[in-house]
Structures are given as structure tokens and as C-alpha cells.
């Protein structure tokens, strides 16, 4: 069986296990919802439908700000999931069982990242409607553009989260280290996601934002490539 099929096998193993244990996705989603709620508290009603100010640097309308809150909530909730997903291999040293098997470490990485990728979609499927509801944003502006943005973000975020999730298993202060390492690295994706969402919410659409897609796409490619190669150096003794 080649390594691509082994990758799917490993992702399926993670997802099937989680479907029974429910230790990763529910806390992730709950945390994400709490964050979205917290952010909404400061918003006046109808803020999502408020008229948007002109394109002046520094003046940000509440609708544009709303997009930032969505992605920040996603990021924090995602980090929770990445850490828990990584710790399933750390407990009982199960990662050694996988390292002993004739599987390419890149496939181990990809399988884990694929599972994380799925967890992110689960998170988004729940957070996006909640976001639309609580920020009172016109759905037609967001969908389907935001799904494309989510796709580009999820690939890079899952890859980086898998890499740093694994790295954080081997240090003291585990919960501190992951955000410390992951946040700065992932900022280009978050920044791009916020700019693109802002563009969507102000009605400008994604057509003019080709540069951001190129940047984020290149970033994703780089992170996935580095992750696939570097993963074994992190998990091997």
C-alpha cells in the first residue's frame, strides 16, 4: 500500500477515534463559540449592517472588524484542537508504534494534518453561521467567498498546527509553547484572511485580491513542504 493511502488510513484512524472519544472537536467548538460570544458583547446591535466608511487608512468600520474576530476565534480554538490531537500520539508513546512501521514520516505528518484540516472545517461549519447571526452580517456577502478563504487558511493552519503541535509535546509548559510558536508564523494567513473577509463584507468581493491569494497559497505550499520534510526530525528521538 503506498504512502498516500497510508496517509488516508492514519487520518481515518484519528477521526474514527475522535468520533468515539469526543475529546478534541467538542472542546474546540465550545471554545470557539465562547470567543465569538465574548467578541459580540461589545458590538452594538445591527453593527453588521451598518454603512461602511470610505477606504481611509486607519478608519475601520465595525463590519470589517467583525471579520477579524471570526478568524482570531478560529485560530485560538484551532490551537486547542491541534494540541489535543498531537497529545493522542504522545500518550503511551504511540508515535513510536507508527515510527516503527514502514511508513514515510511525511505520510505520518500528512495524515495528522489531514485530520486537523477536518477539525478546522467542523469548527467553521459551526462558527460561520453563529458569526452571521451574532454580527448580523448579510449572508450573501460572505458565502461562497469565505469558503474559499477558509480553504486557503485551513491548509496552512492545519500544517503548521500539526508541526508545532508535535513540537510542543516535548517541552515543559506545553500549552504555552504552542501558541508562542504558532501565532507569529501563521500571522500572514490570518492577516490575509482578515483582509479578504473585510473585502467581502464591504461588498468589494475577492476579484481584486489576487495578490493575497498568491501570497497565502505560496505560504501554504511552503509550510506543507517544510512540514512533510521536517516532521520526522521533531518526532524521532
Amino acid at each position: 500500500m503506498n504512502n498516500v493511502r497510508k496517509m488516508f488510513l492514519l487520518a481515518a484512524k484519528d477521526l474514527r477515534s475522535e468520533a468515539r472519544a469526543k475529546e478534541i472537536a467538542p472542546p474546540m467548538v465550545l471554545f470557539g463559540l465562547i470567543l465569538v460570544f465574548l467578541f459580540t458583547l461589545d458590538f452594538p446591535p445591527g453593527a453588521g449592517r451598518a454603512p461602511v466608511p470610505g477606504p481611509v487608512v486607519g478608519a475601520v468600520g465595525s463590519r470589517e472588524l467583525a471579520g477579524a474576530f471570526l478568524w482570531v476565534s478560529l485560530l485560538f480554538a484551532g490551537i486547542l484542537g491541534f494540541g489535543r490531537n498531537a497529545s493522542t500520539e504522545r500518550e503511551g508513546n504511540r508515535i513510536e508504534g507508527l515510527l516503527l512501521a514502514p511508513v514515510d514520516p511525511a505520510a505520518l505528518f500528512a495524515g495528522k494534518a489531514l485530520a486537523n484540516f477536518c477539525y478546522l472545517w467542523v469548527l467553521e461549519v459551526i462558527l460561520f453561521p453563529v458569526f452571521v447571526l451574532f454580527f448580523d452580517v448579510p449572508v450573501g456577502l460572505l458565502v461562497p467567498g469565505v469558503l474559499l478563504v477558509a480553504l486557503v487558511v485551513n491548509v496552512g493552519l492545519a500544517a503548521a498546527g500539526t508541526l508545532f503541535g508535535a513540537a510542543s509535546q516535548y517541552v515543559r509548559a506545553r500549552e504555552l509553547v504552542m501558541p508562542l510558536l504558532l501565532f507569529p508564523v501563521i500571522i500572514p494567513l490570518v492577516l490575509g484572511a482578515e483582509r479578504l473577509t473585510s473585502s467581502l463584507l464591504t461588498g468589494a468581493g475577492l476579484g481584486s485580491q489576487g495578490r493575497w491569494f498568491i501570497l497565502m497559497g505560496a505560504f501554504d505550499l511552503a509550510i506543507v513542504a517544510i512540514g512533510a520534510v521536517a516532521f520526522e526530525f521533531i518526532v524521532n528521538e
Binding site: 517541552v171 507569529p184 500571522i187 500572514p188 495578490r211 509550510i223 521536517a230 526530525f233 521533531i234
Partner: protein, 266 residues
């Protein structure tokens, strides 16, 4: 018993005098550069592409704030260089496992963080009179600050790892991933109209500066690169000494303790 000797080191005195010479050259170059800034480059120039040399653009007063530009840009480029060296050292360390590459990467990361910090600081000093604010979260500044954080994370991580070898290896991965931000910082200046001035040297349309400014800038770039090399020589020497010390301590530990002879032959 003689302690284990370190092998493969070139004569200490020769290296030391070479480093001293370099430091002297850097100091001299810095002095020359500062003189050039104040006395050679026309003071009323500003950073708008296409403005002819000697034409004032903000006001008629001598533009001392603009001088920071001649420091800020070389510092930024040397920071990129430093992180590039971290990349090379990290990749080499992962491939070969030889400690000297890890020491190279670690040293360069420390110096890179220093230079990035200076870059941010000099930018802030320039920004306050120019924009009225020390800081803004535009793409370039944000990504540069992020660069700063990434490599601080690199340095912090090494201290937190339970096992030093694994810590060094994960740090190497951070060093590789972190470098992805460097081209992003550069392109943010080329692609987007942000508050931070556009990239005028490594620009698709060619360097946008008048000749005397360009020459001064490149000269200072050489000076700061020399400073980087000098700091690297000092820091890597320190790193190798620490490594030799750790190895000597380990060698001492594994020798079985000497048995006390109480005078009666068994």
C-alpha cells in the same frame, strides 16, 4: 591526567587578531558613513521615487530625520541575511547532526533578533516625526514584528526543551519555517501601498534612488554586514567554547571514580 583536548581548532591568536581588524574596519566604516550622511548627501532629499536630487519635498529645513533611512535599511537587510544564515545552519544541522551548524544557526538567530529589534526601533524613530505615530499595523510593520517574534520564539524554545538535542532539532525546524516570513516582508513593500514607504532598492523597476544616496546606502550596507560577521565570529567562538566545556564535563562524568587505596595491597 590531562583534560581532553579540543581538536580541529585553528590557532587562537590568528583568529583573534583577524576579528579585531574587522571590528576596527567596521568602526572606521561607520564613522565614514556617518560623515557621508551629514556632509555628502544633500540633506533635503526625501524618499519619493522620481524626485530630482536636491529638491526639497517636505519642507525647506535640513531633513535630519531622513538620515535614519541610511541606517534602517542596511540593518533590515542584514537581519534578512542573519535569518538566511539561520536557515542554512538549520538545514545543515538536520542533515548532518553536527553541532557546529546548530551553533551557527543559534548565533545568527541571536544577532538577527538584535538587528530586527534595531530595525523596528530605528523605524519608530523615523516614524514619529514623519507620520506622527511610532507604530501602525500595516502589512510591512506587522510582518516585521512577526519576524521578531518568530525568532524570539526560536531562542526561547531552546531553553524550554526537556532534552537539549531535541530542543536543538525543533529549533532548527522553527528556523526553517520562520524564514518563510522574510520574502513576505519584502513583498509587502513592493506589492501594497501601505504607510511604510515602498521598497526603493530591490524593486522590479530598478533602484529608485539618486546616485549619492544609493552609494551611501550600499556603503553602510557593507559596514553593517561587516558588523554582522564580526559579531558572528565572536558569538560562534563562544558557542564552540560552551560546547567544548559540556563535552569535557561529560567525559569527566563517565570515567569511573578512582578507588581509594588504603595502604594494604589486596
Amino acid at each position: 591526567m590531562s583534560p581532553p583536548t579540543t581538536t580541529g581548532r585553528r590557532s587562537g591568536t590568528g583568529r583573534r587578531s583577524g576579528t579585531m581588524l574587522l571590528i576596527a574596519l567596521v568602526a572606521a566604516g561607520m564613522a565614514v558613513g556617518i560623515l557621508a550622511i551629514f556632509f555628502w548627501v544633500p540633506t533635503a532629499n526625501c524618499l519619493v521615487p522620481g524626485v530630482a536630487q536636491g529638491q526639497p519635498c517636505f519642507d525647506a529645513r535640513p531633513d535630519y530625520v531622513q538620515h535614519i533611512f541610511y541606517m534602517h535599511v542596511p540593518i533590515a537587510y542584514v537581519a534578512y541575511l542573519a535569518f538566511g544564515v539561520v536557515l542554512v545552519g538549520s538545514v545543515a544541522y538536520l542533515k548532518t547532526g553536527k553541532r557546529r551548524w546548530d551553533i551557527l544557526a543559534h548565533s545568527s538567530a541571536e544577532i538577527g533578533v538584535l538587528f530586527t529589534g534595531l530595525c523596528l526601533l530605528s523605524g519608530m524613530l523615523w516614524g514619529r516625526p514623519r507620520w506622527g505615530t511610532f507604530w501602525t499595523w500595516d502589512e510591512t510593520l506587522t510582518l516585521t514584528f512577526v519576524l521578531f517574534l518568530i525568532y524570539i520564539g526560536y531562542l526561547l524554545f531552546r531553553g524550554l526543551a526537556a532534552d537539549p538535542t531535541r530542543g536543538a532539532r525543533v529549533a532548527a525546524v522553527i528556523g526553517i519555517v520562520g524564514f518563510v516570513d522574510v520574502p513576505l516582508v519584502h513583498f509587502s513593500m513592493v506589492w501594497w501601498r501601505t504607510l511604510h514607504p515602498a521598497e526603493v532598492i530591490i524593486n522590479p523597476a530598478g533602484p529608485q534612488l539618486p546616485a549619492s544616496e544609493l552609494v551611501t546606502m550600499l556603503f553602510l550596507l557593507a559596514v553593517y554586514t561587516g558588523l554582522y560577521v564580526a559579531l558572528m565570529l565572536l558569538r560562534t567562538r563562544l558557542g564552540r567554547a560552551e560546547e567544548a566545556l559540556a563535552e569535557a564535563e561529560a567525559a569527566l562524568e563517565e570515567r569511573p571514580p578512582p578507588r581509594a587505596h588504603v595502604g594494604i595491597t589486596p
